[in-house]
């Protein structure tokens, strides 16, 4: 048996991995090759542990792939007071809906990536773990994520980034998470603030009534409508000098 560190340093050359700049596309090849190598081995037959409740139905993800993403989400967003659990926001279905918008080739790459991430043989070869990701302890799961996150192979970091982005977009895109992060959500819109007509055209625009705020006085030169302050009201203003003008660096060339 090779020692793990040595193994990692000297023996593992996934297709493409020695060339960090190869694209995400190569994940497909790397994944396929690795899965093929592992096809008949005991490790590769270790099962993804499916979770009983996943939501769905899914457009793209298989239940096992959804299980891997949900398990990953459980660690990317560990339990914390006030934060809903990933299943509370229907995370697998939200992630699936985003993946479903991608071209088929991208969908296939992502599905392969998800399976590769879970795969016991990959875990063994790269991280010395004998279990699938979904069948590992929480500590092992965190270690697996960190191994991909900090890998010296750019390709693995790419895989980590792809998975992380899908999970966080699905989770933090849900309004159920907003209270946990102190985001009150969009302000209510007064229907009267919405212009009934398309924006005025050319010359007329200069004489259009501002929708809100101080309008131009009768007969005076048209004035830009004054916007209201953003919420919250700005703190006490410091003494504000006029913006510098006449900088010789790129600054827009405003006269």
């Amino acid at each position: 048996m090779w020692r793990r560190g040595r193994y990692r340093r000297e023996r593992i050359l996934l297709p493409g991995e020695h060339e960090g700049r190869r694209g995400f596309l190569k994940w497909g090849l790397a994944g396929t090759a690795l899965l093929a190598v592992g096809g008949g081995t005991w490790l590769a037959t270790r099962r993804t542990r499916p979770l009983p409740a996943l939501g769905g139905p899914f457009q793209v993800l298989s239940p096992l792939e959804a299980t891997v993403l949900l398990t990953l989400a459980e660690r990317l967003v560990p339990p914390r007071e006030g934060f809903p659990r990933p299943m509370d926001v229907d995370l697998p279905r939200r992630a699936d809906a985003v993946v479903a918008l991608a071209p088929e080739a991208t969908q296939n790459e992502l599905r392969q990536l998800v399976r590769l991430f879970d795969n016991a043989l990959t875990g063994f070869l790269l991280d010395g773990q004998f279990h699938t990701f979904t069948d590992s302890t929480l500590e092992q799961q965190d270690a697996r994520i960190a191994a991909w996150q900090t890998s010296r192979y750019a390709l693995r970091r790419t895989g980590y980034k792809a998975l992380k982005k899908i999970v966080y977009a699905a989770y933090y895109g849900s309004p159920k998470v907003w209270p946990a992060v102190g985001y009150p959500g969009p302000p209510p819109l007064d229907a009267s603030e919405r212009p009934q007509e398309p924006a005025p055209k050319r010359a007329e625009a200069r004489h259009a009534e501002p929708k809100r705020g101080e309008g131009a006085p009768e007969g005076a030169a048209p004035q830009r409508p004054r916007p209201r302050p953003a919420a919250p009201a700005p703190r006490e203003l410091e003494e504000i000098p006029a913006p510098r003008s006449g900088m010789d660096l790129p600054q827009g060339g405003k006269p």
Partner: protein
Amino acid sequence: MSESAPGRIVDAAELRRDAEETPDVCVVGSGAGGAVVAARLAARGLRVVVLEEGGYYPPEKVKMDEAWAFPALYQEHGQRATADLSITVLQGRAVGGSTLVNWTTSFRTPPRVLRHWAEVYGVSGLDEKALEPHFQAVEERLHIGPWPLEVVNANNRVLWEGAGRLSWDREVIHRNVFGCQNLGYCGTACPVGAKQSMDQTYVQDAVRDGARVYAHARAVRLEKSGKRIAAVQAQALDSSGKPTGRKVTVRSRLVVLSGGAINSPQLLLRSGYDPSGRVGRRTFLHPVVASAAIFPDKVEAFYGAPQSVASHHFADRGRGKVGFFLEAAPAQPLLIATSLGGFGALHEEQMSRLAYANGLIALSIDGFLPEEEGGTVSIRSDGRVRLDYPIRPEIWEALREGNKALARVQLAAGASVVYSFHENPVVMRTESDVALLDRAPWEPLRVGVFSAHAMGGCAMGRDPEKSVVDSRLKLHWLDNVWVVDGSVFPTSLGVNPQETIFGIAHWAADHIASAGG
């Protein structure tokens, strides 16, 4: 299309049969370049058809919701990035292009950039004086003017106050808004129609002057005939962006490509037109590094005009160095969660303080070093577009120094703690901690790098062997095709690009009309 037919916006998703058009001009893309050209040519009486792959979203149809907006309004449903995912690329995909979703920042082209293009790339006739009337015209049409300092939101105020305390140059940004309510939802498209984006301005002008705009129509192929493009073939897409099987074919005397710096090169490459091997080369991104600071008081960086203060103090750092400029970024939850480094408890802890967080960005000014080649747009064997951008050591240096500058600004403005966007975030509480950034890893996928300014790929220049379009933006090797968008820049700009594209498009329309009209 008869000459008296009123213009309109047609949703190609609803086409029941293939459509064919024979206008004077076909414009591919309705963003900052295409909309302005379409409006100006239509105003001269030319019959114009615009092909736009995205949908049409008037104010009453948009939602102030990131989870809706990124898939609906952004390129690749919000997933556009370099092939290795090391640089996230935000670009709009809708009638109005990126102007529908950008943060309204409007700068004229810095004169030194125009001089650089003339000296190094042989661009002729495109100088400050030539552009002046065109900038004036678009500034008037789009209500471009300075944002009042008293309504700058707390997030941008951090940059204003921090830069002020450090005695660095700072300025209030000019914005293309009219009746802005200071809501803060520019990035999910303005819900009150205050943003003077192309869909609300020049596209409407073009339509009033008879232009027909096909939304959900993706140009996929240019058909060549001798030294001309005889037809543009487009696929009709459904509202999720999948082809419906219907086609739109446009046969026109003149063709204008305005798909932006990724999609214009993509269309030319797909169509097999790249005689000098320069299409899709020299792609520049203003690669961005971000910094998050936590303040004792609420910042609520998700509200208020997202970008209203800038500092160009470090734009020119001397020979051999890449300059950078500083701006703010809004902090709505999805954008921040997918951008922050790290995972698990640390990521969650940072997210839990979102309301107290300030987000600033440093944008590196790429493309000015003699040895810089930028990125490359290419087509994958399975047909998808691919963007590569190897970050040079000089760019990494600028990102590192930019990050340090941001941390200094935030600490000077009173931040309790500053986090870098490294996967293992650098935590800074005092000025002396800023040096920790020198020891952080500056490598792909170890720190978040972003771009919202794709430029180049169809560079203008005198030499047909080294550029794609001439100084009038006409393709060197074809007689009736112009490229009018950010792809024609030979370098990046050092300022947010939309107004440069407006101005150049306004200027180029005269040349196109006189050459082809």
